[in-house]
């Protein structure tokens, strides 16, 4: 069973994501801010992380950079899910190694399809 981490500071979004992941049979971890996310990533080594960018302490870019630069986490996929929808934001996210970048509001179907593709 794949381990997926959901990191976002908006409880309602987390709730919807959690529902979707469980329904698709993933093992779900939840982080409400950047430092919680870091902790879980290092401890539980999820196969995929759904990352918000704007969070109160550590931002999503930093977390992604951490994952992509760590050998132990080489299998971990990163999907950005952010309200930052500008061309330049998306480009930056992909440049630092994200596997996908979806903007809020998102289509639940597209997100789930992306995740299952990445985890094949």
């Amino acid at each position: 069973m794949y381990k997926i981490l959901l990191a976002d500071d908006e409880p309602n979004i987390l709730l919807s994501l959690e529902f979707l992941m469980r329904k698709n049979g993933y093992n779900v971890f939840i982080a409400r801010n950047g430092s919680e996310a870091m902790e879980i990533i290092n401890r539980d080594k999820p196969q995929l992380v759904v990352l918000d960018i704007m969070m109160p302490d550590i931002d999503g870019y930093q977390i992604c950079t951490h994952i992509k630069s760590s050998k132990e986490l080489s299998d971990c996929k990163v999907v950005f899910l952010s309200a930052k929808a500008k061309e330049s934001d998306i480009k930056k996210g992909l440049e630092i190694g994200a596997d996908a970048y979806l903007t809020k509001p998102f289509s639940t179907r597209v997100l789930m399809q992306k995740i299952s593709e990445l985890l094949k």
């Binding site: 500071d9 908006e10 309602n12 979004i13 709730l15 919807s16 994501l17 529902f19 979707l20 329904k23 960018i53 704007m54 969070m55 109160p56 302490d57 931002d59 999503g60 870019y61 309200a83 930052k84 929808a85 809020k104 509001p105 998102f106 289509s107 639940t108 179907r109």
Partner: protein, 900 residues
Amino acid sequence: MNPLILSIVFVAYLLLLFFIAFKAEGWKWKGRKVTSLPLVYALSVSVFCTAWTFYGSLGSASTGSLNFLAVYLGPTIMAPLGFLLLKKLVRVCKLQQITSLADLISSRYGKNISLGSIVTICCFIGIVPYLSLQLKAISESFRILGGYSFDYKGVDTIALVISFILIGFTVLFGSRKTLTSEQHSGLLAAVAFESVVKLFVFLLAGLIISYLAWNSLSAGLNTDGIISGFASFFKEKESIPFNFGDWFWVALISGFASILLPRMFQINVVENDSEHNLTHSVWVFPLYLLLINIFVLPIAYAGYLFLGNNTITDYTLLLLPLKYNLPWLAVFVFIGGISAATSMVIVETIALSTMFSNSLVIPFLARQANSNSKISSIGNITLFIRKFGVFFTILSAYLYYEFVSHYTSLISIGLISFVSVAQFAPAVFGGLYWKSGNKFGALSGILVGFVVWFFTLIVPSLAQNDILSRDIIDYGLFHLVWLKPNSLFGLDGWGSIAHASFWSLLFNFGCYIIVSVWTNQTEEEKAQAELFVDIFKYSEVYESSVVYKGVAYIPDVKALLANFVGDVRANNLINAFSKRHKIENDISAKADPRMVAFVERTLSGIVGSASSRLMVATVVKEEEVSVQELMGVLKESQNLIALNNELKRKTFELNNTKSVLEETNRKLIQLDELKDDFLTTVTHELRTPITSIRAFSEILYDNPDMELEDRQHYTNIITRETERITRLIAQVLDLEKYESGRQKLHLTRFDLYDIVINVIEGMQQLVAEKQVNINVAEFSYVVVADEDKITQVLINLISNAVKFVPQNTGEITIDSTLDKGLIKLVVSDNGKGIDPQFHELIFDKFYQAENQTIRKPKGSGLGLAICKKIMQLHGGDISLRSILGEGSEFTIVFPIKREN
């Protein structure tokens, strides 16, 4: 007292003076050269006070007369007026490199040689007796202390030795260098030091003597007795009744003398390196005069009481310490007397020797020098002439002292000298302010004034000593009654000084004006008159605008200068000048007119203006330049400067406009960026609830078999997120109203306490759910404000607090105070606190700007930004103090009564 000790003291004092004069140029005080400190300069002006002041005032006061005070009153009254005069004199002399009184007069009246020579000769006649007075003072004070008799036979060897020591000293310091400006800054420091010494000694002796005299008097008398005795001393002894005429004339000529005495001119003008110095001397000098006269009357009275009548009253100050058996004080007084005498002799002699060489000897030689080799020989002997001038001056003073002066009191000689230099007043002051004054007027005025001076002051003393027939005094010259030297044209009732001053100055001024009006000026005189009188108008352009119509070659000009300053120095000076004015400086080139003028000025500083003009004429084939041409050039230069200033002003204005525009542009760009930031923030804020709404809508659609409970929960979320969007839109619109200034306050009177209670009641349910404890302090302030808006702020602050305190243990405290008309209301909680990095940001509507990836704590939205706007609209403010993990404290402040 042992004469050997006295001699040692004398020599030691002079050595100290040597030391100061030699070393002072290197001394610094607070980063400035000691010799250019304004105070040093101001003190050196007190060279006005000679041995005549130091000893002679007492001599005069001891005879019961207060007339000596007029001598100090004059310069004091003159000081403010003298300030303006001297400012002009200094400016003129610096620009034209004038280094003596004779040179000044000669230069003003067309660089006339005979005028300079006559002024020099008159100065000698007038000043030499005054110099001898100083020798007399030193010699006699030495005799008194050393216990010598005054009735010596033959030559006064003491005075002779002193004369030679002074010649040596003056030659060393006064004629070391010939180069321009004639300043001797080390000497200036030495003179300032002497001024301090004489004042200090006089005050010290005055204090001690007054104290001792008072003590011995109060043994027999009470205070009133002493004071009435003191008063009656002056009443009884007043031999000549108070006479306004005497006071007026003595004060007037003393005032003139404080500017026109050669030594005063030397210090005030020649040694003065900045006009700014005058603003200090204008008050230091009168203050000095006041201090040095303060103890004259008490000491004179003490002298009268304790020395008896048969004594040399001039030396009361020296005799009293001996009487009281205070030999050390007597030695101090002796040193004070020396300092007063030597400073005068040295400065006066330097001034006179400059005149002697530059206005008498060198012009005479220069008139015959028609080739460079002859001028070169003058250059070689200039220093020698200067030194000879020193020797000649002091020796003349000695000879006068030895053969003429024994019968006169110190004070009378001094005043006679004053009257003699006052004869230059019409020529000098007139020359500075009246363009039509010319050389014939000046010449006739000075000559007539001197003749009258000689006749009214010198002839009587010659007759009294039987050198001339006494008939002149009794029956008048040629037995004409109206030509009696003491009552010319029947004028009686004034003292001899007032009498002589009146007649000599009357004739002098009369001749100066009448002859000047009757005769014509030469072109050169006209030019100089223009430059002197309007110096402040021209000084800016002076250096670059002097005209010569003539041809000269640079090597000739350079060689001329080199005769006096040496080849190296001449080269340097010419190179520096041509660089400064961007003039061609080629060996084969013709000399620029400005350079010729520069050389002439430089030479003026060395040999005087008249000789300099003669010498320059030998290398320039010159044509006469009319005053119109000269003025034309000066005016043109002035116009250029004005034009230049106008251009500078315009450029400055343009630059100002440019920077204002740049600033405006910058602000506009900033505003634009802020607008962008705001849009980003708002859209971001909108995306979040929409995201939830979409996600849950899709979930509900895709999962029709969901449990009812979950379904209700998710639809409820959708509803609340929709409300959130509505609220946000309302806030944006609200904020926009504040921004645009359309939001108005609706003022009413209400009690702040009631509002707080209402707000809390409105949140009852929320509070109960979270089990928060809210403490509201007891207060009651009736305020005038917008009730709805203040309520809005309170709802925001209190609901935030409720939101962030922990479940069950939450504590919120609300308190309010009034201070100086300002209401302060604090809402504090024990919530999780706010990171310091957000303390400013939290009140900012643009909290999620372009490059920002860290998010403000959730839930604050635009609420606090609106709170801030509301408080600002009330003339108040909102602020935050918070420690992470311990709690937050929001404070609002606003005036208790908001005026509309």
